[in-house]
């Protein structure tokens, strides 16, 4: 084990049911203080990997060590103690719809600290200022745009100054301006907090601009990893197809099917 790694995964395999493995023999080390991107098309197992890092799922085999704690077999108080050192941004923010923006950001502070209201107020306003939404503290989640909701959720995720921040598809369904704001915030907040960030996404071009290290996954395996510059120039067919957005390549355009001619001939025979 290296002290510099925030997340260390060794020979990890996982399946939701025994017949269909989702992750095969994954080994990966995520150094502290870095922003790491995990890329891959939908269904490749990247969100499952994020869930295992967050302790929501247990690996079938192999180990996952997060912030120095082994997550295998971890539950109850020990898991919650580990999660207090993490923050997570969900795909659509997952803000509590029955609370205002202010109360959403104050939620982790109220649940986990005995700080007086005045201090909580100052902390909440500082976090909202960091995402540019101090003026929106009285609004409800229903009054926010998608990008604003994502920023409030980000302020809530960093409320307890986490050492590890997990991002599950943070750019989904955002306009280009909100997209750029969230990307810049992820980088800036990571550096300001001295945290480690893990971004699971398929928005490869934008991610390459902000990450320190990139991991490409397909069908539950890591196919390539390295610095963004190396990935941009990679000759690995999958990386090349993904980075340049080609419709056909190692990931085929067509879903597996019998030969086209044979299939049409069956129809003709019935006719």
């Amino acid at each position: 084990m290296t002290d510099s790694a925030a997340v260390e995964i060794e020979r990890l395999s996982f399946g939701y049911d025994s017949g269909r493995p989702v992750l095969h023999d994954i080994s990966l080390a995520m150094p502290r203080g870095k922003v790491i991107g995990i890329m891959g098309q939908s269904g490749c197992g990247k969100t499952t990997l994020l869930r295992i890092i967050g302790g929501a799922r247990q690996p079938d085999s192999g180990t996952a060590r997060v912030l120095g704690t082994l997550v295998n077999g971890l539950d109850g108080d020990a898991l919650y103690a580990l999660r207090r050192r993490m923050g997570m941004l969900f795909q659509f923010g997952a803000l509590f719809t029955d609370m205002s923006v202010y109360d959403n950001v104050a939620f982790p502070l109220r649940e986990h600290t005995d700080l007086p209201d005045e201090l909580i107020r100052d902390l909440v306003l500082m976090k909202l200022e960091a995402v540019g939404l101090r003026g929106a503290s009285r609004l409800t989640p229903a009054e926010l745009s998608g990008g604003m909701a994502r920023r409030v959720a980000l302020a809530r995720a960093i409320a307890l100054d986490p050492q590890l921040i997990l991002y599950d598809e943070p750019f989904t369904a955002l306009d280009p301006i909100s997209f750029a704001i969230i990307a810049r915030l992820i980088r800036r907040l990571n550096d300001a907090l001295g945290a480690t960030s893990v971004i699971v996404s398929h928005d490869v071009k934008e991610c390459l601009d902000i990450v320190d290290y990139m991991v490409f996954m397909t069908a539950g395996r890591i196919v390539a990893e390295g610095a963004p510059e190396a990935m941009r120039g990679s000759s690995e067919p999958f990386v090349s197809q993904f980075v340049h957005g080609q419709s056909d390549g190692p990931i085929p355009f067509h879903y597996p099917a019998p030969a086209y001619g044979d299939d049409l001939a069956v129809g003709a025979a019935h006719g």
Partner: protein, 272 residues
Amino acid sequence: MAEGGRTGGVAPLLERLGGAVTARIWRLGFASRFFGYMLLHSGTALRRFQLTIREIYFAGVQSLIIILVSGLFVGMVLGLQGYDTLQRYGSSEALGILVALSLVRELGPVVAGLLFASRAGSAITAEIGLMKATEQIAAMEMMAVDPIARVVAPRFWAGVISMPLLAAMFSAMGIFGGYLVGVKLIGVDEGAFWSQMQASVDVREDILNGVIKSIVFGVAVTWIAVFEGYDAQPTAEGVSSATTRTVVTSSLAILALDFVLTALMFTGGNAR
């Protein structure tokens, strides 16, 4: 050949039947474990009682209108029907007893329970189900906050506290409805109406038993509502069918429990 085909048809049918029964037993076991876990993690709901009070407002206070209006109409109907029957035997002054006993023993807890299941139970299921579908429950877990302690238990205790109060208000309103129709409209003697009621309604045998019933119904309805919400498939269709299941299951539970409780409470008393 045909025989073989028939056997082939019966086996999968039995298999499906067995599968459905086993699945239901599993679900009942899961619901029981959920109930136990919820009781064990009720500390937050009771220590930070403002969380429960907030839910009492949503489940209890917001159900008041439907409970009070229904209670009034049920009492008025009891007044009309009761008078019609009693006057045939020349005992129309016993109307007060009939109205009060029907409401306090049976109609108060049962009808208020059914209304509570459709008004508050369905809302609790839909709210928790939607929180799950929009990942709010998962977000809470990732923030190291137990959603059963923070979201489910306060709603459960709010339901258990609200239900007997709503049933009592339903009965009180019903008695007032019976009074309006019997005394003010039909002209039954007011003194006889109240004094006979006062003499015949026993605090322990009638009122306390009614309160016990309403507490049991409150536990049943709210348990079903929170469990269905927490167990809902996180999709629009999943939340909608969970809400329907809450209303159907808790209505049946109320009626079945009412029979069991009535058998235990009142038959024994009459036998003596």
